[in-house]
């Protein structure tokens, strides 16, 4: 059987890329072992900070913040809903950047970061949608409404699902990495729609009050628990990311053991 071998051409390109990038700062972290050493070193601090900020944030959210003059106590759902939404979008940007880095510079860590982050982002998007529904029922009288922001967050959830499905859709487990990276980049168009949907359309969802041009318009007593919860969720994401990356590295080592023929 004659097999046309494309590899020489590709290897040439790979070689060129390696030559260009070898001295840049970014590639200091390209060495997986070194990265894992740094990650393992900071892991205890990050996990403890995460637990502390979660406890402090929830204490402030439930016990130490005032009820809203319009929405009453139901505003306490905001301390879960808004950080979850922020994390969901931020993780998608991380995945998109990692995908770009993996496709353009073939950075070896990028696809591991992207693959590990996806389930976390999907879970937080789901949490955002659920808490949003639980907040909307007493406030708007309905569990769901098809306005611009809710629909685009739902699209974000579908994009996460599609990304994870595409990663595992091929018989060869490594084959799905590049298509998933391309999908992540194509889906980036959804992010500005999420951010600006409340400005572009008349929606039921309230307009931006945190990340505005002239600063947040939330009262300071509510702003503090909100920011603490955002920090807490971010630290939680970083903790989970390190744990998942350890698992991915172990899986990669297993794969290379099989490939190198050390096992039969």
């Amino acid at each position: 059987m004659v097999i046309i071998d494309h590899r020489p051409i590709v290897k040439l390109r790979n070689y060129e890329v390696k030559k260009l990038g070898v001295n840049s700062d970014m590639h200091k972290f390209a060495n997986p072992t070194r990265f894992m050493k740094i990650a393992n070193a900071i892991f205890p601090y990050i996990s403890i900070a995460c637990i502390v900020s979660l406890v402090v944030g929830i204490y402030y959210a439930i016990f130490n913040s005032p009820p809203d003059y319009q929405q009453g106590d139901s505003v306490r759902i905001m301390y879960i809903h808004v950080p979850a939404a922020y994390i969901a979008v931020m993780i998608y940007m991380v995945i998109a950047s990692a995908s770009a880095s993996s496709l353009i510079w073939k950075h070896p860590l990028s696809d591991i970061v992207a693959r590990s982050s996806a389930p976390i982002g999907a879970a937080f998007t789901f949490l955002c949608l659920i808490t949003g529904a639980l907040w909307g029922k007493p406030m708007w009288g309905t569990w769901w409404v098809w306005d611009a922001r809710l629909t685009s967050m739902l699209i974000l959830f579908f994009l996460y699902m599609g990304y994870m499905v595409l990663l595992n859709a091929f018989d060869d487990p490594q084959r799905g990495v590049k298509p998933a990276a391309i999908l992540a980049l194509v889906g980036v168009v959804n992010i500005p729609i999420i951010k600006f949907s409340v400005d572009w359309w008349n929606t039921l969802h309230q307009p931006a009050s945190l990340f505005k041009m002239d600063g947040p318009s939330v009262s300071p007593q509510m702003l503090l628990p909100l920011l603490i919860m955002i920090v807490a969720f971010t630290l939680f994401y970083m903790t989970l990311l390190i744990i998942r990356m350890r698992g991915e590295f172990a899986a990669a080592k297993i794969r290379s053991l099989y490939i190198s023929g050390a096992l039969k």
């Binding site: 071998d5 009453g72 389930p119 007493p138 350890r246 698992g247």
Partner: protein, 101 residues
């Protein structure tokens, strides 16, 4: 106490929100840790197997295959082809065999 749970009438929505958040985050944590532990365990087991078997495998299996199979095939096939078919066919077959991975 009851007032605290009711939360001004919204308790029915607030507490499930926090509960679902806790469940989802705990679930993510447990899933991540168990996957990691499982992969590490498999890795350790495979490393042990690789260490114990490697010496035998490297010498016994590979050498047998290299010597017994290849040489037989190389000799038997080529000779048949060279004699029965055209010389051009033989050269073409050689080129194809070089490209076969």
């Amino acid at each position: 106490m009851n007032e605290f749970i009711q939360m001004g009438g919204y308790g029915l929505y607030i507490w499930p929100s926090y509960l679902i958040a806790a469940i989802i985050m705990a679930g993510l944590l447990i899933d991540s840790i168990t996957t990691w532990r499982r992969q590490e365990k498999t890795l350790q087991n495979l490393k042990l197997i690789a260490k114990s078997d490697n010496v035998d495998i490297a010498k016994s299996d590979n050498v047998d295959i290299a010597k017994s199979d290849n040489v037989d095939i190389a000799k038997s096939d080529n000779v048949d082809i060279a004699k029965s078919d055209n010389v051009e066919n033989n050269e073409a077959n050689d080129k194809i065999q070089q490209k076969v991975i």
